[in-house]
């Protein structure tokens, strides 16, 4: 048990990321208002992107842009992979962010349609109106 405490403290980032994901998941399930559910979805998405980007971090490494090299195919000195942050999670998460905002637009359009039809955005009132039909 005594050697568990240093590992718990060393990985504090992962616990906070998991907390963020669970806050977003709870908002999607338990909130009644549709816009709050959409906010929860967006929080969940950004928390997962945060988790993925944190996988690529290297200690003492710099950003993945080579400097001083002007192209034309010839590297003047050898490039060491340990000097640069891992670029592969960045690439995947760029796609994820932009797809996330497109999904947000569709979700908000659906919320506006629901409001035009039932004149409320609270889930329990909408379900009551549907059951009364």
């Amino acid at each position: 048990m005594a050697e568990l405490i240093p590992t718990i403290i060393a990985k504090y980032n992962y616990w906070i990321y998991i907390t963020l994901m669970m806050i977003g998941l709870y908002a999607m399930i338990a909130k009644n208002n549709l816009v709050k559910k959409i906010l929860g979805m967006s929080i969940f998405q950004t928390a997962i992107i945060l988790f993925y980007v944190s996988i690529g971090v290297k200690k003492g490494a710099t950003i993945p842009i080579l400097e001083g090299v002007h192209g034309h195919g010839a590297a003047h000195q050898a490039v060491h992979a340990a000097d640069y942050v891992n670029p592969l999670p960045h690439v995947l998460m760029l796609t994820a962010i932009v797809v996330g905002v497109a999904t947000l637009g569709v979700a908000l359009a659906l919320a506006i349609r629901v409001y035009n039809r039932y004149n409320t955005l609270e889930e329990d009132e909408i379900l009551a109106q549907i059951r009364k039909k």
């Binding site: 090299v69 192209g71 670029p87 690439v91 760029l94 932009v98 797809v99």
Partner: protein, 275 residues
């Protein structure tokens, strides 16, 4: 529902915490994610593509197929917003409101008759607010510089953080700023709905067209080295130029999708008044 949500959340959180015990330590250079493929990308990107920004090189060249379908997804999201919300129809409203510019008196004309366009009367909407001179002038000065910066971000994506997505969003945000500071009618006159709706698939088509051009020239799909014969450069620089062409396509697609979604959401489909 709240108690079920709480139980589900705590159980999922418990599983994730238990699984996180096995993760490699944070910021470890020898973690499995950084071992197999990414050293190849870091070391060889400048030799094979002559692009110093490794993320742009991987995004548009090594993983170019993913980015093409991402542009397709963005276009289809804009299309879905349009289909859900847009109410077509040229039914002009029965009562129009006009405002006499010099005295500020509002005149309401009923039953479909209208005042012909003149200097003294301007057409206003139901939700009209008094004009804010400071905001209008400041935004009108700022918008050309925003667009210039957006074009710079797209073109300079090889050497600094940036690229097609970021530049496209900044360009779209400049038109959204015009719609917010003035009104939606001004922005729609500047960039009409048909132009926006047609430019969106044109952006995706530029991306796929570059890939098809490489196919026609004899190499694989999206293999930019084949463009060397068209552009009269060596294959490594041809890959750099191919990346620039697809970034322009992605930028156009993202810009028009942002404008399209904003127009549809803020006017709830009717396009007569906005935020």
């Amino acid at each position: 529902m709240k108690i079920i949500g709480l139980i589900i959340t705590i159980m999922t959180g418990g599983f994730l915490v238990y699984a996180a015990g096995d993760f490699p330590a944070w910021s470890d250079p020898s973690s499995p994610a950084s071992t197999y493929l990414s050293p190849y990308y870091i070391e060889k990107a400048i030799e094979e593509t002559s692009v110093p920004n490794i993320v742009t090189a991987v995004l548009a060249d090594y993983r170019g197929f993913d980015t093409m379908f991402e542009a397709t997804v963005i276009f289809s999201a804009g299309l879905v917003c349009f289909i859900l919300l847009r109410i077509m129809g040229r039914k002009e409203p029965e009562t129009r409101h006009y405002r006499h510019v010099l005295t500020g008196v509002t005149v309401t004309i009923k039953e479909g008759r209208k005042i012909p366009a003149s200097e003294e009367f301007e057409r206003i909407d139901d939700l009209w607010t008094p004009p804010e001179l400071i905001i209008k002038t400041a935004c009108r000065v700022l918008i050309p510089f925003l667009q210039l910066f957006g074009l710079y971000v797209i073109a300079h994506g090889h050497y600094s953080p940036g690229g097609g997505f970021q530049g496209g969003v900044i360009l779209g945000a400049s038109i959204i700023l015009l719609a917010i500071s003035h009104d939606l009618r001004t922005a729609t006159e500047r960039m009409r709905e048909k132009v926006v709706a047609i430019l969106c698939p044109v952006g995706v088509a530029i991306y796929a067209g570059t890939g098809a051009l490489c196919l026609l020239l004899g190499a694989n799909f999206l293999d930019y080295g084949a463009l060397a014969s068209v552009l009269h450069v060596d294959p490594i620089t041809a890959r750099s130029h191919g990346i620039l062409m697809v970034e322009i396509g992605v930028g156009i697609a993202v810009m028009t999708t942002m404008i399209w979604i904003y127009n549809n959401i803020s006017s709830a489909g009717k396009y007569n008044q906005g935020l």
